[in-house]
């Protein structure tokens, strides 16, 4: 397993005026991996990327890339970035944009390979403004690769794309990691992180709330929240099917479980008087909420 860190944030706290964008974040990017930074809007994903790109100055903590300051010239030459921006000038062609960005780097990738890697063959002479949304994102992707980088940052690469264009870009990102590059991507789609990443860091309100393989993260987010009024004691619930944790809220007991049907069956067997039963499907948002409840209010029971 590749362990060497090519980039890291260490104890990073970042504020925009009174708003805390990142709080005590430790994040490590290992050589050769695809790391997905997953979180809802406003979680601090872009701030983390900007710090690793040197586009924003570190306020508290430490940021390094290849063991150096993120904005150092030697770092810039070896990494590429796709940012959440509205695009490059409309009046230049795809080929002209690539020509210009290649010139910035000491050892650029051949233009023909860039066009192939981004699926842009035949579009070199088309002006950026005449491209579809998916094609524009592919150009931004190609520009990120102009320097033949070892480390690539993709900030919400598929934001605003339709399903087909999104899956198309996934193919290109997969090919990128197969070519041995280290990739950091941000997304608010669990599906995307699952499809592409070796490792996921879950960010919520500026904090890392979970970290692990897609399977680990999914086991959290596949959970359902079962809520009911019951005489069954919280301690007894812990041994019931699939229970991740449980919590008393007013007269209700709330139980996070990966096996809601089995849990409800077991609960009803234990307590025929159980009432006011609801089962909340946990999408990513619910999973974030479940994972972010104040830990002192609900000790994990498994």
């Amino acid at each position: 397993m590749p362990e060497e860190a090519v980039a890291r944030l260490w104890g990073v706290t970042h504020r925009y005026g009174p708003v805390v964008a990142l709080e005590e974040v430790d994040l490590e990017v290992r050589r050769g991996e695809v790391l997905a930074v997953l979180g809802p809007n406003g979680a601090g994903k872009t701030t983390a990327i900007n710090l690793l790109l040197g586009s924003a100055a570190v306020q508290t903590g430490e940021a390094t890339v290849f063991g150096q300051r993120p904005g150092a010239p030697g770092v810039r030459a070896r990494r590429g970035a796709m940012l959440q921006i509205s695009g490059v000038p409309n009046t230049l062609t795809v080929g002209e944009h690539i020509d210009l960005f290649r010139a910035y780097y000491p050892a650029p990738a051949p233009a023909s390979r860039l066009l192939a890697m981004a699926g842009l063959e035949g579009l070199e002479r088309r002006r950026f403004g005449k491209l579809s949304g998916g094609q524009k994102q592919r150009v931004m992707f190609a520009l990120a690769l102009c320097g033949d980088p070892q480390l690539v940052f993709l900030d919400e690469p598929t934001a605003g794309l339709d399903v087909e264009a999104r899956r198309g870009l996934w193919e290109e990102i997969r090919a990128l990691s197969e070519s041995g590059r280290t990739t950091v991507l941000t997304t608010h789609y669990l599906e995307e992180a699952d499809a592409l990443a070796d490792r996921i860091v879950l960010l919520h309100r500026g904090r890392v709330i979970a970290e692990g393989s897609p399977a680990t993260i999914k086991s959290h987010t596949a959970a359902r929240l079962v809520r009911c009024v019951t005489g069954v004691h919280r301690d007894r619930v812990a041994s019931l099917p699939g229970v991740v944790r449980s919590e008393a809220r007013g007269r209700y007991l709330e139980i996070l479980t990966s096996r809601p049907e089995d849990l409800v069956r077991a609960l009803l067997d234990l307590d025929p008087d159980l009432h006011d039963l609801t089962v909340v499907g946990a999408g990513l948002e619910e999973a974030f909420l479940a994972l972010t409840r104040a830990p002192d209010a609900s000790e994990p029971v498994s």
């Binding site: 964008a21 990494r79 590429g80 959440q84």
Partner: protein, 265 residues
């Protein structure tokens, strides 16, 4: 630095300037007004009206002032509005993640302003010499073009200051609010001597006034203030604009304001 590295860095400057120029040339909303308006104004006020109304010297006087006007446009709009737009669209942020030297970007924009300014000045000179019978010594033509094109520096600095502080949508409007009143109040359209005394005094705070006076000095039609005064005012104002611009950029980067449309996340 090795020769190869130098050659590579040189290529960045050349390509950045070339694409900056192509980009602007393909944008009719920028190219047409900045290239044609000063020429049309000169034709109308300097040649057609000037020949009849004001005086025989009008076409010569306005040759200088409309050339100054022609250089102001691309400097203010290319830098002011152009830069604000590229900052807001995120292109500037993206380029700054690459090894592109910031100087290549800025010099490309100065070069573009210079090239457009030179094209306008050439057009006005040809119109003046062949359409309005303006007669100058050969050294005066050269000196005038040099003085007028040197205006790219203070006007680009002013454009940079406006661009650093305004959002892209507002930048064009704000630039116009700086550009048009300043052109008029500096005596670029109508000779400054026709203004009331208070307005003539006020013109002393405007960079375009001092620049126009330097241009008029070449053809011995200026108001008689010292060359050193005009040069000193322009130098001090250019430095002040650059400081204002630097503060504006620092403010944008510190996160006090959002540096991209989506806000922070």
């Amino acid at each position: 630095m090795t020769t190869a590295t130098l050659a590579r860095r040189g290529r960045i400057y050349v390509l950045e300037a070339r694409y900056q120029f192509l980009m602007v040339l393909r944008e009719p909303a920028f190219a047409i007004p900045t290239l044609l308006f000063p020429l049309m104004f000169y034709l109308f006020f300097g040649v057609v009206m000037g020949g009849r109304g004001f005086s025989a010297a009008a076409p010569t006087y306005m040759l200088a002032t409309y050339s100054v006007f022609g250089v102001m446009g691309p400097s203010l709009f290319g830098f002011g509005a152009g830069l604000a737009m590229e900052r807001d669209s995120g292109v500037l942020l993206l380029k700054r993640t690459t090894p592109m030297p910031a100087a290549a970007y800025l010099l490309a924009k100065v070069g573009m302003a210079f090239a457009f300014g030179a094209a306008v000045v050439l057009g006005i000179f040809l119109t003046g010499a062949h359409g309005a019978g303006v007669v100058l010594y050969r050294w005066q033509w050269f000196a005038l073009s040099g003085v007028v094109l040197a205006g790219v520096i203070p006007f680009c600095a002013l454009g940079l200051a406006v661009g650093a502080w305004s959002k892209s949508r507002a930048a064009v409007a704000i630039t116009n609010l700086v550009f048009l009143p300043m052109a008029m109040l500096s005596g670029l359209w109508i000779p400054i001597t026709m203004f009331p005394a208070a307005l003539q005094d006020f013109a002393n705070v405007l960079p375009a006034y001092h620049h126009a006076q330097l241009a008029l000095k070449v053809i011995a039609m200026d108001g008689g203030q010292a060359t050193a005064l005009h040069v000193a005012v322009l130098a001090v104002q250019s430095i002040a604009f650059l400081i204002v611009a630097a503060v504006g950029f620092r403010r944008a980067e510190s996160g006090a304001v959002s540096i991209r449309p989506g806000g922070m996340s």
